[in-house]
Symmetry: C2
Subunit: 877 residues, 2 copies
């Protein structure tokens, strides 16, 4: 027996089922499945995806036996339907549709009404009692066939259609009559002859095979390849081809067509929801030429069909155990189902449906957890532009921080604070932001910047605040301190704009927003999530305020507390600068002594909020010149404050300047040349810990050494830290448990992770820097070429957004394995931006990390991603 | 039977041999070996290195049985010598010396004359007929014992000695008499009592054990640990302890002592060479108080002993098959040999001895190859300061390019060329050099700069020219355009200085140099080297001139031709800038068309010189802003040349500026955003190749894509290159074989090397950038902390000088393995600075590279290192 390639489906004889999705594609498998369920499906057959695979392997040739098998199945279909393909009087018409195992909507080709020709169109006319419809169908068929199968430019046909309408002085297709269509058809055939050198195929068998060729060919068209690349769809054999007998919803008022969702796709409510049109074909419902009716009305119009539909709905939901999106056609009072698939839904609906289905006993809790996407959850956490608003986008930037914001433009942080204090909603518009703008950013509804990437100051801070931000908007030009141009349009302070931070859009309108409620449903859903989740979720937070927000969102500790942010605050920047500009250790220590009590208080605040949870504090990381001003005027002012000669000050700042600060004198390198900084920070941490312990706070400080590349660096600093801590414990006659660990962010560290782990008690992957060094990309500079890289397909994603598992991930695996070789229970986490990105979180789970750490507003997403990663892995195993 | 720890050596009973070096240390094994050979060795015994190992493992306790074994061997020695340790009348005195398997000169402890006390000193006095000598020996013994064994500060004893001399009004130790020594001894004992709380040990057995403890203890003293770290000495058990009966060269005129080399250590001449003193002990020969005689004179003075020495010389050379450095003592007309070891020698001598020994049939050619160090060979290739010159070092900088240079100071490149054209020898002294200085650097004898590291422009160019350079000399301050200060001393144009580029020294004297001849011996030796060598050696060269030099030194192709250096030359920089400043592709192409013929001519020149050898040409690598001026005045001038508005020009240059240019828009990233640059360069290479082929030149261009991090980058550019090449081949109706490969210098590239190798025909490791990214060190900035890292022992070496095999090397291994998985015969080389550094070359050989590439003047060293790496590996296998 030769291999089987074609699978028939009909009431009495069906060869497929939903489990054969890989072989029959989603559409084909579901058609077979529904037929098996006894639902009314127009019969047909599916050519398997294996044929597609062989077609390409054999240089566009079909495997032996296929032709014969298709002919046999077609004959079977003709017998079943009592019609023949190409019959002059009562032709069998079929649709030819693609359908891969994973849905690729609109990417591949479809041909409808196949089987029409100059003679059978008359048969259809008689049969339908509608000449105009028959000729319109024929016109549509040739147009579709010409475009899809023969690759004739679509516009050529449209031009003919338009010319005819102009000639006749009408506006719509519906105003054209049979005679018009006859003229159009003549011209269409002429076009095809001219473009292809051949006459339009009148032989329906030839039409069929050409359509099959075209559908298989469309598997590897440019947009389909691109789509698979972008969506990371791999390992499929190809598309299947579904050949199905056509049914007609437009055979008069007893016919109709519709689409429906088994539950409300917007709210999730458990009620049947859909639209239909009588005397219409599917495309009419979508096209919006006539206004469709709500499916409830069918109850009055045709209660039998309605009841039948309700029973189909029940049947499908119970069977597929998910909300379904179905297409149906009523032909002469008879209901047909043409398609079912899992329905797309809003994030709200996804949560509600998942929760309801658990209650209904339809799905398990862990299934519910898999039913809500992390992207969807993100929507639930931020204000969004009301989907009903149709708005004007005047400029685009990077979607730097999600959500939407409406407000009056302000150009300075001070102004933002001033106006916000009066209850005004403002958007802070700046070329770029800097640490001094924090107050204004906090006061604003959203932030718009002209320069800077996804990891610019504005973007990072806004995400930290859970505030909408559009960054790097090239079409924003600041003109003066109270005017700007956006997308060529002028604005002054006080003008309203709306930002969509999820899409990077700027609108010049004042749009209506929807403020989501983090309702009971959300909380119930997150409870399911946490029941499944095993990996910890911590937060990146530098202040007691951020820590409190994070805890509210479910953070189980702090994974990264950056001490340098504290160095900028208030007066202490003066002491920091004094420290940097000191000529010797004594001078530095004097300045550090001023900082010590302030830094200690920072930690006390954070420890108190994080009572009972670990707090990972990173020692000073950035190069010292970041704390100094760079402009002459600022330096002149500083020279007065410091009582230091201007020229000397300038020389000193110049001498600290670096060619590549990213790879310069920073991280633990600072602490090795100036150990007194590490000493001060250790003192602040340990003193703070001892002090809160006295008040009954449970404190678990974890001191983190940044930028370790060799085991010696770590040992050098751990000794300093341990010595200081012991000294303080002795002095206070009390102790706290603390750990000393390191960031792993230098590629080399991964190779010597075993040696580092001899002394290090935890690792935290700093994937921002690790990505920079592994790729050799400076985040601050890559904006020039990274977007082009993604556009040209050189990179599938921006590696600063999604962790690059092929390079950076491999280094991480080496680091983790080597570290755990030495210390089996080594605690390992991640604290780069990737700690809040779902695909990266999945990677972190799969390589065995103990926790991820992310900004406070990403925490629910991280919790969900961690739970889903665990479930996915278990399902594979 | 318990384990054996002590090995006796004497004429009749010797338990060791030279093969037991690991167990007995070098000294102990050779003493046993020489005893076995029948040479006159004072008997004694060696406590094995295993004891040292156990001593540390057991918390400073000796293994069971050791005490007893030592006592037994001591008793045997006493019987043999007919003297007893501590005997009042004729005491046996012994030396207690350390000796590990690998020589660590001066790092561990030694005690001589052990066995003296208040009574036996009188016995020695009688026996030696020299009371003064006996008391001086006792004084020296206590001093040495106090210092080495009891850890009393050395200065305390010296102070007593000095006080005594002052008191007596004399200058030298020799002017002190027995009475003086008695007073001194009393004070010495007092010091010991005060410092240790115990009396000086009068019991010789206690002295012995304390000395043994001290020698074992010295294995882990700070300087020994440091020495092993620096010299990468690993895997040794510890030191052995040699206890040997003392012999006296100072028992009158029939006694004496000397050191000798079996061949001339300076010239390599095959003649016995040494010095001796009658009536003296070893240290007297070295101390230079009396002038020693040449060993030939012994022929007249004592022909029997001389003949005996000659026969020892023959015996040892034949036996050890290498030039020996021996110590001997004559006691009462009897010759004793106290030590033999392979003798240190000059580079000239090393080559000559190796060649001679091959001719004498003493060693094989491959042994000869191992006998010359790469450092030594380097000396042979550069002028050096005459070793007889004792000179004044006024400042130190980095040893940026080896060799020495003498000349008059000039402060500008123009002046250097002007004076050199008149036959003057000049040293170019600059804050730093830039590409415009090339002419002056070429004209100068050497280069001295105030700033910049080992990879600064000055250093790289000087090494390329084989010219002496001291860079980053912090004590050099340029005062005006014709004066400077060096180490605080003022200099003006025309003053003489001397540079030692091998050591980084600056002298204010006009010193005599030795200009080495690359003589017949050198050529003969290199022939042996090449017979052994299997790995290829190519050169980094950007001009026909450099290529010719490299070929003379034995380069087998070009491994790195940097096209950007060509971009700076002459008028073309204008066209380059025009290209950069163009607003669109048309403008860029217009400018590139101007560069094309010039670049084509560069390649023609290089291809002609390299006839028959491959030439690897790297496409443009640096960020474009490197080609633009940065100062306003230069920009203003450029704006005139370009006919471009100054402000517009400034804005453009500002917009190109990068935060971290190292990680910015450079390498293949440039070619992906501006493919027209790659197109022009491909055209220049292929056209040049076709043109020289017509003249009969054999040409093998290898086009190298820089900074590849993903396979897509490579594929994108390879397609452009292949398309252009095919186009030109068709047009010219001729073709050349060319390859397209890539630099591997981005950490990520190593992880996707298998994917890159699908299309790439060769890899060349760019270990400069790979080191920067793997460590996260910017070469330009690391000068601030790297020296401190090396000083504090955080890093054993500067990883930009010696390849870091633990991190960078691991990445390279991953890259090589993955690349060859896909393409088994993938050609792999290295073109970073490490390609000329011997330990890095050894690594390259061991990981299976096909070639290393280095600057022209390093080529002989690379050839030798490659041959030695191969021999070493074969010896291990």
């Amino acid at each position: 027996m030769s291999k089987k390639y074609v699978y028939f489906f009909s009431k009495d004889f069906t060869e497929g089922k939903k489990e054969l999705k890989e072989l029959l594609g989603g559409k084909g498998a579901n058609l077979a499945e529904m037929t098996n369920l006894g639902l009314p499906i127009p019969p047909g057959f599916t050519i398997s995806t294996e044929v597609c695979d062989l077609f390409y392997k054999n240089n566009w040739n079909y495997p032996e036996g296929l032709k014969k098998e298709v002919e046999e199945k077609l004959k079977k279909l003709e017998e079943l339907m009592g019609k023949k393909l190409g019959d002059d009087n009562d032709p069998l018409l079929v649709s030819v549709r693609s359908g891969a195992a994973i849905s690729m909507p609109g990417m591949m080709d479809t041909v409808l009404n196949l089987g029409l020709n100059d003679r059978s169109v008359e048969g259809l006319a008689k049969r339908s009692n509608n000449r105009r419809y028959a000729y319109d169908s024929y016109r549509r068929f040739i147009q579709m066939f010409g475009d899809v199968v023969l690759s004739v430019e679509r516009d050529k046909f449209e031009d003919v259609l338009n010319d005819q309408k102009i000639k006749k002085g009408v506006k719509d297709d519906v105003d054209l009559d049979v005679e018009d269509f006859k003229q159009i058809l003549a011209k269409f055939k002429e076009i095809i002859k001219n473009e292809t050198g051949e006459n339009f195929a009148q032989d329906p068998k030839a039409q069929l095979w050409k359509a099959i060729d075209a559908v298989f060919g469309s598997w590897n068209n440019e947009r389909a390849i691109k789509y698979r690349e972008i969506n990371n769809i791999k390992g499929l054999l190809g598309t299947a081809v579904n050949i199905q007998s056509m049914v007609y919803g437009n055979l008069g008022e007893s016919s109709g067509t519709g689409v429906a969702f088994t539950r409300d796709a917007a709210t999730g409510e458990n009620k049947f929801y859909g639209e239909y049109l009588m005397n219409a074909q599917g495309e009419d419902v979508v096209a919006g030429i006539r206004t469709p009716k709500y499916v409830e009305e069918l109850k009055k119009q045709n209660p039998v069909i309605y009841e039948e539909l309700l029973s189909v709905r029940d049947h499908l939901e119970k069977h597929y155990r998910d909300m379904q999106d179905i297409e149906f056609t009523i032909e002469d009072e008879k209901l047909y189902i043409l398609q079912t698939r899992n329905g797309k839904r809003t994030a709200f609906a996804a949560v509600k449906i998942a929760l309801d289905m658990v209650e209904e006993g339809l799905i398990s809790k862990r299934e519910a957890v898999m039913r809500v996407s992390t992207d969807g959850l993100d929507q639930l956490l931020h204000p969004n532009i009301d989907p009903k608003e149709k708005y004007n986008v005047i400029a685009k930037g990077l979607p730097a921080s999600p959500g939407a914001a409406v407000g009056k433009i302000v150009f300075s942080a001070d102004k933002a604070e001033e106006m916000a204090s009066k209850g005004e909603k403002v958007i802070l518009v700046r070329k770029e932001t800097s640490p001094e703008d924090i107050g204004g950013m906090d006061a604003a509804q959203g932030i718009l910047t002209a320069t800077g990437g996804m990891t610019s100051h504005a973007a990072v801070v806004a995400r930290g605040m859970g505030k909408c931000c559009v960054a790097g908007c090239g079409d924003l030009v600041i003109k003066s301190n109270n005017s700007c141009e956006i997308g060529g349009k002028s604005f002054i302070e006080g003008d309203y704009i709306t930002l969509n931070g999820s899409k990077g859009e700027v609108s010049d309108e004042k749009l209506r927003l929807i403020i989501p409620e983090v309702s009971g449903d959300f909380q119930r859903f997150m409870k399911f999530v946490d029941e499944e989740r095993t990996m910890g979720v911590r937060t990146n937070a530098d202040t007691p305020q951020d820590s409190a927000v994070a805890k509210k969102f479910g953070a189980e500790g702090i994974g990264l507390c950056r001490t340098e942010h504290m160095f900028f605050e208030g007066d202490r920047i003066d002491a920091v600068r004094e420290m940097i500009l000191s000529e010797n250790k004594d001078g530095r220590e004097k300045a550090l002594n001023k900082i010590l009590p302030m830094q200690m208080n920072d930690f006390i605040g954070i420890f108190e909020v994080m009572d009972g949870y670990p707090v990972t504090i990173r020692l000073l990381d950035p190069p010292l010149h970041e704390f100094l001003p760079h402009k002459d005027e600022e330096l002149r002012e500083l020279s007065k404050t410091m009582g230091m000669d201007f020229n000397q000050l300038k020389e000193k700042t110049e001498s600290l300047r670096e060619f590549n600060p990213m790879l310069g004198h920073r991280g633990c390198r600072l602490a090795i040349t100036f150990p007194e900084i590490a000493v001060m920070q250790t003192d602040a941490i340990i003193k703070a810990a001892l002090s809160v312990k006295k008040k009954g706070v449970k404190v678990f400080p974890e001191i983190m050494i940044p930028l370790t590349g060799t085991e010696k660096e770590f040992e050098f600093l751990k000794e300093i830290i341990d010595n200081r801590a012991e000294k303080l414990f002795k002095k206070e006659n009390d102790r706290v448990n603390y750990k000393v660990g390191t960031m792993i962010e230098i590629p080399r560290a991964c190779f010597v992770a075993d040696k580092i782990a001899q002394k290090a008690e935890f690792f935290s992957f700093g994937t921002n820097d690790l990505t920079q060094m592994t790729f050799g990309f400076s985040r601050d500079d890559a904006g020039v070429f990274l977007p082009e890289y993604v556009k040209k397909g050189v990179l599938a994603n921006d590696p600063f957004q999604k962790l690059d598992t092929e390079g950076v991930g491999k280094l991480m695996e080496i680091g983790i394995n080597k570290g755990r070789e030495i210390r089996h229970d080594l605690k390992i986490g991640i604290c780069g931006e990737h700690g809040g990105e779902p695909s990266s979180i999945e990677f972190c789970y799969n390589v065995g990390m103990n926790y991820v750490s992310c900004s406070p507003y990403r925490i629910p997403i991280a919790r969900l991603a961690a739970a889903q990663a665990k479930i996915k892995k278990e399902e594979i195993e």
